[in-house]
Symmetry: D2
Subunit: 338 residues, 4 copies
């Protein structure tokens, strides 16, 4: 595992240490090199190996030789740099950054503001959302785990778009995220007293995650989809609540979302369908790898409203990464996650 | 003042005690009758009169005789019962409940689930939003203060609808409210450990406030307007963050929202225009009677995004009530509020 | 399991459902009878059996026949009522209430304000703190799990008292507890807006937990010990931070707390010793069954300061109950807890 | 006013802008030079002068000439540097840092780790706690405002020490502070997700504020007093809850704290005595300049327990600074504060 100083890295360490079928053989970090996991993360000082396993400097050849899967939990841009030698050395990668999510280098540049550091690898990567790409993930060499916001809306939207149940030009999404979503950035904006008792929109109107959201929706729809998306920061540690609106397609005579969602996700291990009576609450998913989904038809406006909740660090990042790893290694998909 | 056991009642007591131009002559409450204000609200045990002024049972004749303005801070339904004898006795009323906001008894019944208790008074009431009805409020006998959500969207939407800048059929609003918005209801849903670390939608798809929002928007537009609105509960004490979307009207060649908002609100004492560079944050308005408004044009979707923030208890309730009172008494509109 | 409507009951259900060595065969609750676990606790709607297992009315004979261990997660007073027929029917009980913690009925009456409902059972019960009574718990028929505050101070104080390292007349304890400590009581004091942005002492000077704290300290010391204890309520969901002060015993020439604590707890599975360099933080123990303990000697005042942190619902209640069950059933003590 | 980038500086700006008897003529800040107050502090963008008044670089001569009082809201160490030329130029200073609180340069060095930058000024300064030094503050040239923790305990302890009601060798204090107490330090420890859902002791056993606390207690007692003090960080923005323990003096036959406190503080404008029935809660003092004080006698331990609550930024810093300024200028002591 490469890079572990952020919240997703910490959570990934926790999941891998507790995983019944895998061993965490190496954790690298420039910042923490030489320290044990127990020293850096007092929260799980008790887990097996934490007193013995030390952070080291990353050595691609050795990592590729010793680990069946290498996770990259690095800032955007840096991940691609590490990926190249690791892939060359034969490693299979699960990347938690945005570096390999975007298929077109030009779109990457538009949203991230600089040239892609390894454009030749973009074709190889698989978007790590098992609910859409399960089969491809199994055999992938390079998995690009989705962002937290995209996860919270792609899973709900996928069956609706596939079934042409909604008018694709009318999709509008509002999300609220906990503060760990900003990572462990030491910036004044994320100090306790700046976030506590504060609710605020940000990244308006063109948040970076739009690039991958629209890419994936367009692939599902086989036509170009543009959506509206506004994220907000709310004072919780974890959780994303997403509320999605779309007009019901004129072509649909009588939409029964329950049929659509049950058909798509009735057997999914990490999708819980709350239906038309209940509503999601982030506190029911934090600490888990689940996505909870509820919906309502508003007859007054002829719109479908879909609401989801995930833990941004688990189903929105590290949990999803482990889910992908399970698929890649042929393990039960829920191993280490339930 | 009638009824003071809720958060809006408490805040109204605080504002009136600190107001330089008025005296709080009576506070009634069945629950607290006989206790001093200082005993019930330790927070402002120091303010003038709090040790002497006691809660009493409501006596309409005496209230009407002694007070130039009577505030009703009562639950929906109960306010109308108190209003009738008070008006008969000659009082001028500022009502903080929903009882007199809706002009049509049928709409009231649709949204509140029972017949209106005093339909004959509906014609008399003035909707207490000074930014729209300032002149009528000055001379009103019965002012119905708007709800918190309506305030946060009617002020931003008014000039856009007046100027026909947006397509009225495409208005969609997402709001996030602090927990005082639920009042001091002693219900399990509002316990600390149920709200803390929780983000959740509620009242989907037909929140009661929709009735007054659509009524007021329709009056502004002179045609029937239906909107989409989803409120969410977030773990802060106070504050509403509202994000509004609407397609820019095809009739508009080049929309400059700054011109529209400056024209409408450049002189308003409680409207702060943040423009296209900054974004609102509830922490900048809590404890104040201001509404902060920012906007962005999204060229990709041809939509205008308007974001506002208010304190739900002040500009969303008690502050607005005092602003109305100032108008009714011919006082400076900002007296006791800045 | 009898009673599951509170936070400790909910957490106990979660632990038992996830436990690798036991099955939860019955959950009783008057309030929820007929509902499935998944309906009542949406948070763990996914776990095995939650869709099938329904809450039922309690039937002592059947419970005693079907379950190797019966947990009582009931309010004080009610637990004793249920215990009697269950014990008569041959059940082994783990009680999470205060009913069987106090050995003397007179002390119970002093602190709880009414006669003990089953004084004849007091002699039988074992105080369920494995770090002190591990052997007795293994063979117990009736285990009385300690309160959350007592756990946070008895574990740190035990070796110091045993070794006569501190002056027993000078023990003074300040604790800060998260709001779940008050249970799921629907009272105005525990509403979100009353607890959020609030810090306050309560239960001063004679909190009920003092009865069991002093009882257990006195048993350790073999003399009557009286301490000072002040709890405070702080706005977190979970966690107790406890800070303990005591004068270093004059008899001790040179106290090395590390030697004392390592000797006592070096092998304990749920005690983490932070020593003299680090400090505990509730966020490192919430969600776990650990107690973190740090200490400092203050040469200026000749006092030892010991600081601990636990999760009040886990090590302070349901986790400890499962730890006791593991001992009673001869399972690994950490089963289902790490 | 010199320095305004921290929370105390911001609050002081707010108080001075709203003060009915003074004008804020200059605000200096290297970081913000050239910006208006409205730009830097959007929260009070509306107040008089905020759009016109710009931050400037500090010019001692000009400040001394133009301002009747100069406030220093600077980090420790820097304040003393600015004080020297300002005093030389004839200014009267209110310093909010720790630089002039300690009377002995040796003690300063012990607790702050470096030599005092202007030891010759230590004799001149007056400790800015009006409840103790009101008369000296009136005529002072250099007022050193107390720290937040010292304020929360010196006011409660003063009359008890004066009256010899408690045993001075047994004073022990536990405090809990909101996160603004750490200032606007951009450090990982104070990020939202590190403080939220966290309770933790810090600065054990020798917090810097001990220096001034013991200095002032010793002056009151006319003998050397050493106390025990442990601060804790809790997840609120503002507020300090302090719980003080001391053994009742053997010399006292029958202590009635109400008589002691009423005698000392019955006329104090910012002290609210809650007595033996009620308990303080930080939420009742945040946003105000009050200190709330309650007490209990514990007959079991022969100790007096005194609990106080203040807003750490107001009575603990900026509010107290304005209170001092009011005294220095001969204004009503409560001007601009109630």
């Amino acid at each position: 595992m490469v890079g572990a100083s952020g919240y997703t890295g910490e959570e990934l360490v926790r999941l891998l240490l507790g995983h019944p079928e895998v061993d965490l053989v190496a954790v690298t970090s420039r910042q923490f090199a030489g320290k044990t996991i127990a020293e850096v993360f007092p929260r799980f000082a008790h887990q097996k190996a934490t007193g013995a396993l030390k952070f080291s400097e990353a050595d691609p050849t050795e990592l590729a030789r010793n680990a069946r899967i290498v996770f990259l939990a690095l800032p955007h841009g840096l991940a691609a740099e590490f990926a190249r030698p690791l892939l060359a050395a034969g490693a299979r990668l699960v990347d938690l950054s945005a570096d390999f999510r975007i298929k077109e280098a030009a779109v990457y540049k538009e949203f991230y503001g600089h040239d892609h550091p390894a454009p030749e690898l973009l074709g190889e990567s698989v978007y790590g959302l098992p609910e859409i790409y399960r089969d491809r993930i199994r055999n992938a060499t390079l998995v690009a785990c989705p962002g937290c916001y995209p996860t919270s809306m792609l899973i709900p939207l996928r069956p609706l778009i596939r079934r042409r149940a909604i008018d694709r030009r009318t999709i509008l999404v509002t999300s609220m995220s906990g503060v760990t979503g900003a990572g462990r950035k030491v910036e004044a904006d994320y100090l306790f007293s700046e976030c506590n008792e504060s609710v605020r929109p940000y990244g308006v109107p063109k948040h970076r995650h739009l690039a991958e959201i629209e890419q994936e929706l367009s692939r599902l729809a086989r036509e170009r989809i543009v959506i509206q998306f506004t994220p907000h920061l709310v004072p919780v540690n974890r959780g994303i609540a997403t509320t999605i609106y779309a007009e019901i397609s004129d072509a649909v005579v009588s939409l029964d979302p329950a049929v659509v969602f049950d058909g798509a996700y009735g057997q999914e291990p990490f999708v819980r369908l709350l239906g038309e009576e209940r509503l999601p609450d982030t506190k029911n998913v934090t600490g888990t790898n689940f996505i909870d989904i509820a919906w309502r038809i508003d007859q007054r406006t002829h719109r479908l409203i879909i609401m989801s909740a995930i833990d941004n660090i688990l189903k929105g990042a590290s949990g999803q990464a482990v889910q992908c790893m399970n698929l890649m290694l042929g393990l039960p998909e829920t191993a280490g996650l339930i």
